[in-house]
């Protein structure tokens, strides 16, 4: 992995975590394939998601205690690992969302200032 890739991934890491949490909070428990497909749809291809970043993100969130994975059957009868957001995850999501809102507002304002100057 080149250093440029690493940098990109690093920047996106927080964002990806937030999106996954948001997604699980809205839709409910999903397995990796569903999450991947869903992320592709909502980001409209902007987020070129690669499984090499999604899977580590899931481990990370699970280790934080924000999501919980468990095996169960899908409607098509397959074994899949479903991830559900936990109470701690809900709390983290609210905090993160708030943080992101403020950050983006700030950046927005700064960019506008810049444009005016």
């Amino acid at each position: 992995m080149s250093s440029k890739d690493k940098k990109t991934r690093h920047v996106l890491q927080g964002t990806l975590d937030l999106i996954v949490l948001r997604n699980l909070a809205t839709i409910g428990p999903q397995h990796a394939y569903q999450i991947a497909t869903r992320l592709q749809q909502i980001s409209d291809g902007l987020l070129n998601l690669n499984q090499g970043t999604l899977y580590p993100a899931l481990v990370r969130l699970e280790q934080y205690g924000w999501i919980k994975g468990s095996w169960s059957k899908t409607e098509s009868g397959r074994e899949a690992r479903f991830y559900a957001i936990t109470v701690a995850g809900q709390k983290a999501l609210r905090a993160e969302t708030e943080h992101w809102r403020r950050t983006s507002q700030l950046i927005e304002r700064l960019l506008v200032e810049r444009a005016r100057a």
Binding site: Y33, V59, Y64, A88
Partner: protein, 893 residues
């Protein structure tokens, strides 16, 4: 914050659930792929094509797994664990090699740990007092060295002039033995101290207080501070002990305090009693030590410079009679360990040489193994193992090996050191009874870890670097027999043998010199008969023995009682028997009444009861021995030894000459004029290695009262008994008679004069024993090393030997070829070793007695012994080579 903590725990747990996590991940990815496949099937692709497209869309499965692992746990750690598991398996596969390497390492590391743990306890550990580095001891420095002894005028002077030092306190240098007579009589160790002693050494208290300045004045009442241990043991930890009286030497002493559990002095003491000095005394007896604490911010050098200046005043006051004498301060720890330091450093150096031999042997084992495994590594590299990973595996194995060796070594070393010290304590300070204070602390652990890892790193990692060398793949094409037979390899092995041999020569020569020293000391004729004599001591501290007459009466009474004990031939008493401390006093020869051409001098002084020379069978050369008539009321008599006669009356007969002892050094030493009535044979009863000192002897019954009082305050009286049978058989009866004669005072332990003599050369015994063990270990390791190297090279050269035989070489020739090549290396090693030993022997000179550092016997016998051992070690593999069948040898591939 909490989530980071939770994650750290999850990662650590991940280390142990690796296989389960891997399996779940595989299942999860499989499901994912199935969904993607469905998608492509819906788009109308064939099932085969759909599967292919699904994989493409998913991306690299292995990369995802790797990214997952990195996120999930500590992959490097997991890999290391894997390396360690692999290394364990690989070492278990060749148990012969592993056991040999681990035991060799354990031997070297264990011996080093053992010696270092003593060095650590004695030389490195700080003293157990607050700010121990600031505590300094006063020394009287003369040209031959310095002694830590002080007199009352010295103490008074220091208190007045030593401005750089606070809390100047005096204390007994050797603990006094006192009879504890509360209940069952028992001898305990007491130390006399001045009142501020406890502040200087930061004593904690569990009960009461320490001495007040009033209690330390001459003529105050009897008070005592108990140690925590004595208080617990003898008084059951009685919380109301303070204020009560205990009986010491049959006199009541009021307990004022009990010291804390952690307050332990060196030497250890059961109780403390105030000196109660008369600070105005002019008494010149140097009988105690003094220490103080450097003032804050002052360096030792500054304090010493200040004291040196003040010493000028001391010269004017007559405290430093010799212009070469001076007062100096020495850190207390250095003063305590001074005598043992050189011995211990010598042992550490010697055991370091053993470690070098161990390294050489292990290097040889690893070298052989690395060669054998070259193919294995080449194959692994060929099928895709990274060289970094191969290196790590190789290094892990070596480090694991050395860690095992280190662990076994630490265990055997810490057990071995106690075994050693209980056999031969060697008069080493600070190690406690039988080495009880010697233990494993962080310094010992760091030391052992350090030397273990150094083995792993130097001898494991350096050869492992070869995985980067170009030769890794070559070994795939090379036949087995060519592996390791290259000339650089065989040079390395010769170098190993050479260095082992030369190190062994150095150690063997050192050990032989010390053995000869010890034997020479054992063979020194001390000038007295050491068989069937024992001594026991009794403290006469109490006031009923304050006068010479009372002591003389006790001695007279006791001698009569002892004469009646079955098995006792004759008994005597003295305060300064062989190898006990003695004082030196000035004397003036006042000539004969007719001729008074006087001379003055200094000589050792002792007082003895009648029978002393008979007990020790010291011959009276001329004149007569003391007898019962030389009592207090009779005229003054003295005996001198031959050395004193030769020194001071070289050209005339000393018998009949008059001397006056102790004039001008204080009223306590004022003595009557004495006439020399006889000359006794010289004895070496202070240090077997030293020539006899001029000594004057007076009858105990004629001792000045002042000396009796002073002497019995500091030391016990010794009873010497010559027996007709084994001394220990009569010891109980003798102790019983002595207790009755003294009105119930306890006697100390019984030691035969033989034991006293052995004790006096215990340090040399310790040095000899230890260096002897190291030298034997070195010899054995070297023999093993030579054998191993030769046997290995015979194995490698099997094919070549077969060819030689096929071409007509006979068996003797093959054998001589192998032995000759080996002996050449051994010979060079012996020469290098002899040169090194000749250079190093000068450092041993201070430890030797009766043998020169370049003793020709030692320098001839050691090389011969080593050559013979080497020949034996070479012979076995050489004979095996000679017995090879050419046909079979040629078949070896």
């Amino acid at each position: 914050m909490i989530e980071h903590f939770a994650r750290a725990i999850a990662k650590i747990r991940g280390l142990f659930r690796n296989s389960r996590a891997e399996e779940e991940l595989a299942r999860e990815i499989a499901t994912h792929l199935l969904y993607l496949e469905d998608e492509f099937l819906r788009q109308g692709l064939s099932s085969l094509e759909a599967r292919r497209q699904a994989r493409l869309a998913y991306g690299g499965v292995e990369q995802v797994k790797q990214a997952h692992r990195e996120e999930r746990s500590f992959p490097w750690l997991a890999e290391s664990l894997q390396d360690i598991r692999h290394a364990c398996r690989s070492l278990l596969r060749s148990p012969g090699f592993s056991v040999a390497a681990i035991l060799t390492l354990a031997l070297g590391i264990g011996a080093n740990t053992a010696v270092f743990s003593v060095v650590n306890t004695v030389l490195l550990k700080p003293l157990g007092y607050p700010e121990p580095d600031r505590i300094v001891q006063f020394q009287l420095k003369a040209t031959e060295g310095s002694v830590p002894s002080a007199s009352i005028p010295d103490l008074r002077f220091w208190m007045q002039y030593a401005e750089a030092v606070d809390d100047i306190s005096a204390y007994d240098l050797n603990e006094a033995v006192l009879g504890l007579t509360s209940g069952m009589p028992e001898q305990v160790h007491g130390v006399h101290v001045t009142a501020n002693y406890f502040r200087l050494f930061g004593a904690s208290l569990v009960l009461g207080r320490t001495f007040t300045a009033e209690e330390d004045r001459a003529g105050s009442g009897n008070v005592v501070v108990l140690s925590y241990w004595l208080w617990k043991r003898r008084f059951g930890g009685d919380p109301k002990i303070v204020g009560q009286a205990i009986s010491l030497e049959k006199e009541p002493y009021t307990v004022v305090g009990v010291a804390g559990e952690s307050f332990r002095t060196d030497p250890e003491s059961d109780l403390w009693i105030p000196f109660q000095f008369n600070l105005n005394s002019d008494n010149q007896l140097h009988s105690f030590g003094a220490a103080g604490r450097l003032k804050p911010g002052l360096s030792l050098a500054r304090a010493n410079a200040q004291l040196r200046l003040a010493s000028q005043a001391a010269r004017r006051q007559g405290l430093l009679p010799d212009p070469h004498f001076a007062f100096v301060l020495e850190p207390l720890r250095d003063a305590i360990v001074r005598d043992a330091r050189a011995s211990l450093l010598l042992m550490q150096a010697a055991v370091g040489l053993v470690l070098l031999i161990v390294w050489a042997n292990v290097a040889n084992l690893l070298l052989g193994r690395a060669t054998v495994r070259q193919r294995e590594f080449a194959i692994r590299a060929a099928i895709g193992a990274g060289r970094g990973r191969l290196f790590r595996q190789f290094a892990t194995e070596s480090v694991l090996l050395s860690a095992c060796g280190g662990a076994v070594g630490l265990l055997t070393g810490s057990l071995g050191v106690h075994a050693l010290l209980s056999i031969s304590p060697g008069n080493i300070p600070r190690i406690g009874v039988g080495g009880a204070s010697v233990g494993v602390d962080w310094r010992v652990l760091m030391f052992t870890l350090g030397i273990s890892l150094s083995v792993g790193i130097v001898f494991g990692i350096v050869p492992a670097l070869r995985v980067w060398g170009p030769s890794l793949y070559q070994s795939l094409s090379a036949g087995n027999q060519r592996l390791g037979s290259g000339s650089s390899q065989s040079k390395k092995r010769s170098l190993i043998v050479l260095s082992e041999v030369s190190l062994s020569v150095v150690l063997l020569i050192g050990a032989s010199l010390l053995i000869r020293t010890f034997v020479a000391l054992r063979d020194v004729n001390p000038g007295f008969d050491r068989h069937n004599v024992f001594l026991t001591e009794m403290s006469l501290h109490g006031s009923q023995f304050a006068t010479t007459a009372n002591v003389a009466r006790l001695v007279e009474n006791a001698r009569q009682r002892l004469a009646g004990v079955a098995g006792v031939e004759i008994a005597a008493a003295s305060c300064s028997p062989p190898f006990a401390s003695r004082m030196g006093l000035p004397f003036a020869a006042t000539g004969t009444p007719s001729d008074n051409s006087g001379s003055t001098g200094d000589a050792e002084w002792m007082s003895v009861s009648p029978g002393y020379f008979a007990v020790l069978r010291i011959p009276i050369i001329r004149g007569r021995d003391f007898n019962e008539q030389d009592g207090e009321g009779a005229s003054g008599v003295a005996l001198i030894n031959e050395a004193m006669g030769k020194r001071y009356w070289a050209d005339k007969d000393p018998i009949g000459q008059a001397i006056e002892i102790g004039r001008g050094i204080g009223p306590d030493f004022e003595d009557r004029p004495r006439q020399i009535i006889g000359i006794v044979a010289d004895t070496r009863d202070h240090d077997l290695a030293q020539p006899p000192q001029p000594t004057m002897i007076i009858p105990l019954a004629q001792e000045p009262n002042g000396i009796t009082r002073l002497w019995l305050q500091f030391g016990p009286i010794f009873w010497l008994v010559r027996t007709r049978i084994e001394p220990h058989h009569v010891a109980v009866d003798v102790s019983e008679q002595l207790r009755e004669a003294s009105g119930g005072l306890p006697t100390g332990r019984v030691r035969t004069i033989d034991e006293v003599l052995s004790q006096s050369i215990a340090r040399q015994n310790f040095n000899m024993l230890l260096l002897g063990v190291f030298a034997m270990a070195a010899l054995a390791l070297t023999a093993l090393g030579i054998y191993g190297v030769t046997a290995y090279s015979v194995t490698l050269r099997t094919h070549e030997i077969g060819v030689r035989m096929a071409l007509g070489a006979d068996r003797a020739r093959i054998r001589n070829l192998i032995v000759g090549k080996g002996m050449l290396t051994v010979g060079i090693g012996v020469i290098v070793g002899l040169a090194a030993a000749a250079f190093l022997a000068r450092f041993l000179a201070g430890f030797l007695f009766g043998v020169r550092a370049w003793d020709p016997m030692v320098f001839i016998v050691v090389p011969v012994l080593l050559t013979m051992v080497a020949l034996f070690a070479l012979w076995i593999p050489a004979r095996r080579a000679a017995r090879l069948e050419p046909i079979e040898a040629l078949r070896v591939e």
